[in-house]
């Protein structure tokens, strides 16, 4: 009996199975899509993302998201943004290629900086965002923001300095060790040159030649004596040359010692600053006061901007090379999933045009309708070919004094020209309270203007954050300690100023950034402190310098003498060796001349003298 290939009676159960799968998909597609959206966006953004409801509208190829909350990655108790409804219209053709091309995006009921009912959970899964967060936190730690110390002068304790803590003492010890090493090196070099041996041999020859008579030696004997003399002169010339080389090395070493001694002077300046920091003397430097008051809060703003540009650069890389992503979470190993972008094809993700309606109501001067537009947000900027653009604008008349303007451009189209820039300006908004590190002061700027400009081209940074307010107020932390006299003076100075103007700038590169902060408070505080405690601080500083000088002198002066001694000995020794070579060479040449002159008519070997 022939074996049949197909089992036709299995078609019905197979059809039932397929229908069952379709029904399950229909039933569970939305919850699964909601969970996946939350999971993927949480991992992408590195912060908790919650979606209240997700509806798939299959016949319109649209997705409706409701009650979206994105937690602030820098503050677990706040939402970065909340949106009542988001409608995404997807491109069905791109969807057939498993690509998410959002043709149209509408977002309504958007709110910023709202309080969360429950703190956001930390993102424990892997992914790039936690790494980026760690990197920007490390970036912000490299700024050496001074802490404003307002220790009263009368409480200054006796300055106790340990010499080993001083940089100049350590540097002096290094120089001394190098001097000893150089001296030993010179001795070794002289031994290797064997100047004494060469000179002794030459002297012995001179003695022998002095007692020689050319008539007794005959022509052959004289020629042999002259050849011996020539060889010895060659050896002496060679010794002179090597001594000259050694002299050059010694000269180079001596200039290195000189620069080493100069670094001791620079190290001493650091020691003054170190000793001053032990006394915690109040500073009168306006830039230092500016950084101490507002350095940390400025760095926080730039840190956030850097974090988002890091994310953008990671998720929106330029170029068309295949890209690796971690595979899906499952019981089996995830592996890696590779994307293969192709010219004139859809990117993996593209938000062609998005519109967000923002309505700000209530009594706020910001009241009014705004519109935010996003264009070209994509995972493959090189395929899209244009930079991503975000901008907001007011769509209805509102207060002239209040306004929100945000604009951002991310140009990742070409690998050799990656540029991100953002500018945000908020006028007439209630500015958040700021605390002063190390002091129990809280600044309540009230309503004012805040601007942030941030640009990153390649590795270079340029940023400016500023706030200004005309009715700023200061408050004392009621739970804090009692203020000392200096703190009271500073508080009186700042609380008398209603105008507030802070300007912070960051520049340089990501690896070596520079921060400068200034405010209208700096000069006022500096002048007042100078007037009140300037004399006492000057006395204390004089005491610090004297103490450092005494300690350093005890350790550094012997080193300086030792260096001078080593240098002098080396020069003396070299001069002595050179003189002995030159003397014996002159004697030898005189004897050779005598021998040559005594036998006229003899053709002598060319001696070269």
């Amino acid at each position: 009996m022939a074996v049949k290939i197909f089992r036709w009676k299995a078609i019905a159960p197979l059809a039932v199975l397929l229908v069952l799968i379709a029904v399950l998909l229909w039933l569970f597609a939305e919850p699964v899509a909601k969970d996946t959206t939350e999971e993927v966006s949480t991992e992408l953004l590195g912060t908790q993302v919650d979606v209240g409801k997700l509806d798939i509208i299959a016949d319109e190829a649209s997705v409706d998201l409701r009650e979206l909350q994105i937690a602030d990655p820098f503050d677990v108790n706040r939402n970065l943004v909340e949106a009542a409804e988001i409608r995404l219209k997807l491109n069905p053709l791109a969807l057939a290629e498993k690509k998410f091309v959002v043709e149209n995006f509408q977002l309504s009921g958007m709110r910023f900086g709202t309080d969360r009912k429950e703190p956001a959970k930390p993102v424990e899964s892997g992914g790039f965002a936690p790494q980026a967060m760690k990197a920007v936190r490390q970036w912000s730690e490299q700024f050496d923001v001074p802490l404003l110390t307002l220790t009263p002068i009368d409480t200054i304790k006796q300055l106790v300095l340990n010499p080993t803590q001083l940089t100049s003492v350590q540097a002096a010890q290094d120089v001394a060790a190098r001097a000893d090493s150089a001296k030993a090196g010179l001795e070794r070099s002289l031994q290797q040159l064997d100047i004494k041996g060469t000179v002794d041999t030459a002297r012995a020859l001179v003695q022998r030649l002095r007692t020689s008579n050319p008539r007794q030696l005959g022509i052959d004997g004289t020629r042999k004596a002259l050849e011996d003399g020539k060889r010895t002169v060659d050896r002496l010339e060679d010794a002179k040359k090597r001594l000259t080389d050694l002299e050059q090395q010694v000269t180079g070493g001596a200039s290195a010692f000189t620069s080493g001694l100069q670094t001791l002077d620079e190290a001493r300046k650091k020691d003054y600053a170190f000793a001053r920091s032990l006394l915690q003397l109040p500073t009168f430097s306006a830039p230092e006061i500016g950084e101490a008051f507002f350095g940390k809060v400025s760095i926080d703003r730039f840190q956030q901007a850097l974090y988002y540009t890091d994310l953008a650069r990671h998720y929106m890389p330029p170029g068309l090379l295949p890209r690796e992503d971690p595979g899906p979470q499952r019981l089996r190993a995830s592996g890696k999933t590779i994307r293969f972008p192709k010219e004139r094809a859809w990117p993996k993700f593209l938000l062609q045009a998005g519109r967000m309606d923002l309505a700000i109501g209530g009594d706020s001067p910001l009241e009014g309708a705004y519109e935010a537009v996003v264009q070209g947000l994509t995972s493959d900027p090189s395929l899209y070919g244009k930079p991503t653009v975000l901008r907001t604008s007011r769509t209805a008349e509102g207060s002239a004094i209040a306004r929100i303007d945000v604009g951002a451009v991310m140009d990742h189209v070409r690998p050799d020209r990656i540029r991100d820039s953002a500018a945000a300006s908020l006028r007439g908004v209630k500015l958040p309270d700021l605390t002063v590190p190390g002091l129990p002061f809280t600044l309540k700027p009230g309503t004012g203007t805040a601007t942030l400009n941030f640009a990153r081209a390649g590795d270079r940074l340029l940023g400016r954050w500023s706030i200004s307010a005309s009715q700023a107020a200061w408050a004392l932390d009621s739970a804090g300690r009692k203020l000392n006299d200096l703190e009271s003076i500073v508080f009186r100075v700042v609380s008398g100023l209603k105008e507030l103007s802070i300007d912070a700038r960051v520049s340089g590169t990501v690896k070596a950034p520079r921060l400068s902060v200034s405010s209208n408070l700096d000069r006022a505080i500096a002048d007042r402190l100078q007037a009140v405690i300037g004399e006492e601080v000057a006395k204390a500083e004089k005491m610090v310098r004297a103490k450092v000088d005494r300690l350093v002198a005890a350790k550094v002066e012997p080193v300086k003498r030792r260096v001078a001694q080593v240098r002098g000995q080396a020069e003396q020794r070299l001069a002595s060796e050179q003189k002995s070579v030159q003397d014996v060479e002159a004697q030898l040449q005189a004897e050779l001349k005598r021998l040559t002159g005594a036998v006229p008519g003899i053709k002598l070997p060319k001696l070269g003298f």
């Binding site: 074996v3 049949k4 290939i5 197909f6 089992r7 009676k9 299995a10 078609i11 159960p13 197979l14 199975l17 799968i21 053709l93 057939a96 290629e97 498993k98 690509k99 295949p322 595979g327 899906p328 499952r330 019981l331 089996r332 190993a333 995830s334 592996g335 890696k336 999933t337 590779i338 994307r339 293969f340 972008p341 192709k342 094809a345 859809w346």
Partner: protein, 195 residues
Amino acid sequence: MGGLLPCDPAALPPYRLPAHIARMLALLKLIQSLIKTLHSDGTPGQVAAGMALGAALGLTPFMNVHNLVVFALILLLNVSFGGGMLGWALFVPLGFILDPVFHAIGLSLLEAPSLRSLWTGWYNTPLMPYTNFNNSVVLGSVVAWLALALPIFFGARYGVARYRATIGARVQQSRFYKAITASKAYNFYRLFRPE
């Protein structure tokens, strides 16, 4: 009226088998499947073909489109359905163990410059990306299964034939076999027995 039970059964937490008993039952089911398959009406070739197809379900990550096709083939082709299920059960642990190997194979294929144009073409072809061919473990395991399918088929065919020729008849007479074949599940299985 007071119930016969001291409390409401609905209020009780659902009973769950202890893990070691659940493992034993799973093993028992595997043995049951093995015995049934080896004594099914199918030829050794049909059993072996079913096992070779079922190996795909075990070796490759299950929730993928290609496994739906393989499952449909097990149903539609005149191969042993039991063999397919047995192949699946036998190769699942092997699949987990070999995942790092599959990842390495898949990654080397996906990163091969000579194949880049092929993958790029597939990646940008409608529906193809839903096969997850661009995942290293999926691609590596499918390729490994394709390479192993024929050895599995010939090995299983030889094994089944040898079994039936040696101890098959004695096992068929045992009480154990009779107990297994008397179960209700066996009736469902008979629907898909080879013709």
